[in-house]
């Protein structure tokens, strides 16, 4: 019986998230546009995440390089190190690390912020003040996350490659020019494009899940905590699913 209940809850939740998301396309993109709030959100969301995404990407680039070297050395292709690392970073590590950090930092903060606004009736107060809370709070945040994550990913990729460059230089001296020449020689448009396209979906998922969890927060401080926490968990899981779908798509379209 408990299992049936669980399944029903799961389907209920899936249905209501779908409806909440559908609202974005039917209502969220119509006027009046909350441009000021959108810009404020873009600034705060992008700015808040950049240091952390930069740091983690830098470390990942460095560590990845150091870990790969022994294997490549074994097969005598150490010179391919920049190529390998470049592809790994641009296609997978960069986007996924950025998205997961984004989920941890932004989904939770949106979930907590909107959750506490919900339980203290600030969202109701907005509604009686002639403001559609979905447009003002949800549409702006979702657009901001969707637009900011690709930018953050590109910046993160660049920082990660610098980490990789330092990793390469620990054992052998390579000039920055040569390193990047090698990286970009092997990288093609079809490596970069799908990787960036998927980050739009990652960003959308992070914003949407954060807002959904916040808007459906249950009363009390515990409710706000639960919202923030489940926003991170759910958006992280969704990021991996999108990643899985994305790799299937690129396969089908022969971009691999």
């Amino acid at each position: 019986m408990a299992l049936i209940e669980d399944i029903r809850d799961f389907l209920d939740e899936t249905g209501s998230i779908t409806k909440f998301t559908g609202n974005f396309f039917t209502n969220g993109l119509k006027p009046r546009f909350e441009v000021k709030e959108l810009l404020a959100q873009c600034y705060s969301i992008g700015y808040k995440s950049l240091p952390l995404i930069g740091l983690t990407n830098f470390i990942m680039g460095l560590v990845l390089t150091m870990q790969l070297r022994p294997s490549l050395l074994k097969y005598g292709v150490e010179s391919q190190l920049p190529v390998m690392v470049g592809i790994a970073i641009v296609r997978e590590i960069g986007p996924v690390i950025a998205a997961l950090i984004f989920a941890g930092k932004i989904a939770s903060s949106i979930g907590a912020e909107l959750g506490s606004m919900k339980v203290t009736e600030q969202i109701d107060a907005m509604e009686v003040s002639g403001t559609n809370p979905y447009k003002y709070l949800v549409a702006t945040r979702v657009l901001a996350t969707t637009l900011m994550l690709p930018i953050l990913t590109i910046l993160g990729d660049a920082i990660s490659l610098i980490g990789a460059y330092i990793g390469v230089n620990i054992n052998s001296v390579t000039s920055l020019n040569l390193f990047f020449a090698q990286v970009f020689q092997s990288l093609t448009f079809s490596d970069l494009l799908p990787a960036i396209i998927k980050t739009f979906f990652f960003g959308f998922a992070v914003g949407m899940v954060g807002c959904y969890k916040g808007f459906n927060s249950i009363k009390g401080t515990r409710g706000v905590g639960i919202s923030a926490n489940s926003a991170v968990v759910l958006s992280s899981v969704i990021i991996f699913f999108i990643d899985l779908l994305a790799v299937q798509f690129t396969n089908v379209f022969g971009l691999n």
Binding site: E113, E121, A125, M126, E127
Partner: protein, 260 residues
């Protein structure tokens, strides 16, 4: 464009004293199996203060949230200035809402905004095209009304409970509403501050000729404010009358509110 039809507050057509401004007929509202309102009726006349009494969980907040359109009733009519609230479109509802002030039970001030931004929010949203000068003037006037001009650049977290209540009241009044719905304006305040709030409500009502529904458990507040008292019990309007009529009632269900 949605929400932006109004540019300036239109000169309000004054409704003569004694004419009904809110008419609630056969209102039903339940949440799942929890039946909150069943066949509730109430009429509020212009320039009248109606106090709604009722136990915790009786559905008082639900009632006024239905009036402002935050909750959709299952059945029934809610006429505010002749507009049936549950049937209005979002735009029409926004227009009616400019004439209704709503004081939330827990204030619902935006905690990420300063007092000034809190007060500006309804102004900027409802009346697009106001000049900054006019906005500043109205904000200061509203704060002056509640005696808190000096808090204008503070954040809600920096203020005490009573001050928050008064700021929330100022935000409610800034659009000069014709109807004000107060959800427990004095609960959780010390008796002195509570009396101050009562006096403020009365003073503002005299000044702006508003009609109001006040939810309260505070019998001092009820006594000083109420023109008429309504008892919400088991989802219906159990009885109504003046404070004195109800206070002298022999009915135990009414009596329990007036003891102590």
């Amino acid at each position: 464009m949605e929400n932006s039809t109004q540019t300036e507050p239109k000169a309000n057509k004054i409704i003569p004293k004694g004419e009904p401004v809110i008419i609630i007929e056969h209102l039903y509202k339940s949440f799942g199996k929890n039946v909150v309102l069943k066949d509730f009726n109430l009429t509020v006349k212009a320039e009248e203060n109606v106090v709604v009494l009722g136990k915790s969980g009786a559905g008082k907040s639900v009632l006024i949230k239905c009036i402002i359109g935050l909750l959709k009733p299952d059945k029934g009519k809610i006429l505010v200035f002749g507009n049936n609230i549950p049937e209005l479109s979002a735009d029409e509802l926004d227009k009616v809402r400019t004439k209704i002030g709503f004081l939330f039970q827990a204030n619902a001030l935006y905690d990420s905004m300063t007092v000034r931004e809190n007060l500006e929010f309804p102004l900027r949203r409802h009346w697009i095209g106001l000049k900054q000068k006019e906005i500043d003037k109205m904000v200061l006037e509203a704060l002056d009304n509640v005696g808190l001009k000096n808090t204008v650049d503070m954040l809600p977290v920096e203020l005490s409970g009573g001050m928050l209540k008064r700021i929330a009241l100022a935000r409610t009044l800034i659009l000069k509403p014709e109807i004000i719905l107060y959800d427990e304006p004095t609960t959780g305040l010390d008796p002195v501050t509570a009396r101050e709030i009562d006096n403020l409500i009365l003073k503002l009502q005299k000044k702006y000729h508003t009609s109001s529904i006040v939810i309260s458990h505070d019998m001092n507040c009820v006594k000083s404010i109420a023109d008429r008292v309504v008892l919400l019990l088991d989802g219906v309007c159990y009885t109504e009358g003046t404070y004195d009529e109800l206070a002298q009632s022999k009915d135990e269900k009414i009596n329990q509110f007036f003891e102590s």
